[in-house]
Amino acid sequence: MSRQKEMSSSFDLECQIRKWKSHLQSQESIGPEDLEELESHVRDSVEELMNKGLSIEESFLIAVRRLGEVEIINEEFAKVSTEDVWRQLFIPAATVSDAKRNKLELIIVLALAVFGGLLSRIPMLFGYVDLDAHALVYVRNAALFAFFPVILYVFWKRSLTLIKSLVAFAVCLVFAIVINAYPSYEPHHTQILGAIHMPIIMLYLLMYFFGSSYPSGWRHPNTRLNFVRFIGEGFIFTVLIGLGGMVLIGLTVGTFELMEIDIAMFVQNWMAPCGLFGIFPIAAYLVEQKKNLIESIAPVLSRIFTPLFFFVLLALIGGFFIPFTAVWENRSTLIWFDIILVLALALTLYSMGAKDSQKESRATVWDMMTLALLLAAIVVDAIALTGIVIRLSRFGFTANKSAALGENIILLANLILLAIGYIRYGRKKGTFGHIVAMQMYFLEIYALWATIVVVLFPIIFSFA
């Protein structure tokens, strides 16, 4: 670009570009990165046109003109945009057939919500009417009731082939039979363990359905990271709808109480369970509809809670070492340790999904915060593991202790691998992609372990 030409012209390119940019910026669908990309394109075009001998003013006008009307650009971006959060929950359908499919989808989702609710009533057919007396029946099947409708929804949504999915459906069925056909004797530890681990298996199956339609396949780390985001967002929707549901139930019970009509049985047997298990397909639907609604909240949540969790873990370590407490004396302490560790891991996954690794190619202070959290978690896990091993040597192998041992070893391995990944990333020896890939393949191990606990533990520990 010759300086002479620029000087001689009274036309101020920078000023014009700024004006054009601010006009673009006022459009809701065009984000800062889109803006930068468009600006870069216009500047390139201007340069190219000027090389052909056009004046700077002509070049700018043509370059902008070629890019298109600002409103039309905005409209196009709106179709793919991730920025317009509040604008539309239901993106207007582009064609008539799309509109039909949207309507069909809504009907299917509502049907699946009802189906999920009814699914949870199946035990009633087998005579398990009283929730309190037969709580175990409901607890061990809860994961199936919750996830099966979601699996069906994803199966429909992604237009997966039946043949391909048949194996996964069969796996579902096998697990349903296993958890219900295994006998269970007092104190029912293996069955409760199975109930706790079933959600992991169902999540893994759901991941298969979720990822199958991606061109890179369901095993690809990026696909799996998308699934992690999907679950994270689904979780928030579930909690939000659940809170609303609780208010609704509270109001219903309260109002009927004033009218002196006893509806406790109806609420307990129908309203609460149908409402609860109806939430999951609805939440999945909302995430699919509005993929990015939470995306702007997820980074905020992970940034608020990563430091807080770090301090909680520090406090735990302090509480352990300063008045040297023998954690293994107390079983409940160990359980709470584990819950906190799992949450710390979930938080790491959350910030992983929230991180835009394209925008931030270098490690930020938040990545270092995550690393600090991981290191603290490793120490806590080591303490918990010591406690478990001591308890094992003192009381021998029981179902609960073996499960805890396995979980803590896997968790420790996972945390250490993550910490190594973050350290390498921080020292620029590895990329963030490496960490994601490692973590996403590690999910396999959780699924495998959960399967062992659900299928083999009852046999090993003679169904007690």
């Binding site: 930068e36 990309e37 468009l38 870069s40 039309i72 179709k79 793919v80 061109p215 690809h220 990026n222």
Partner: protein, 64 residues
């Protein structure tokens, strides 16, 4: 519009993108096709050639 299309392709993992500073110091976004993108492209190309073939046949019929 080119860019929304690129973004859509990217979200479907058919292409990847990265920012790089050019010699002039300005940042530019570069796009690159992925393996999955190549596969998709191959598939679409073969579908297109089927359509094209069919149209050619029709045209031949007409001009005969």
């Amino acid at each position: 519009m080119l860019y929304p299309v690129l973004h859509r392709l990217e979200s479907e993992q058919l292409i990847t993108s990265y920012w790089q500073s050019a010699d002039t110091g300005r940042r530019r976004k570069y796009y690159q096709i992925t393996d999955a993108g190549n596969r998709e492209l191959e598939q679409i190309t073969s579908q297109w050639s089927i359509v094209q073939h069919a149209l050619d046949q029709l045209e031949k019929e007409r001009s005969r």
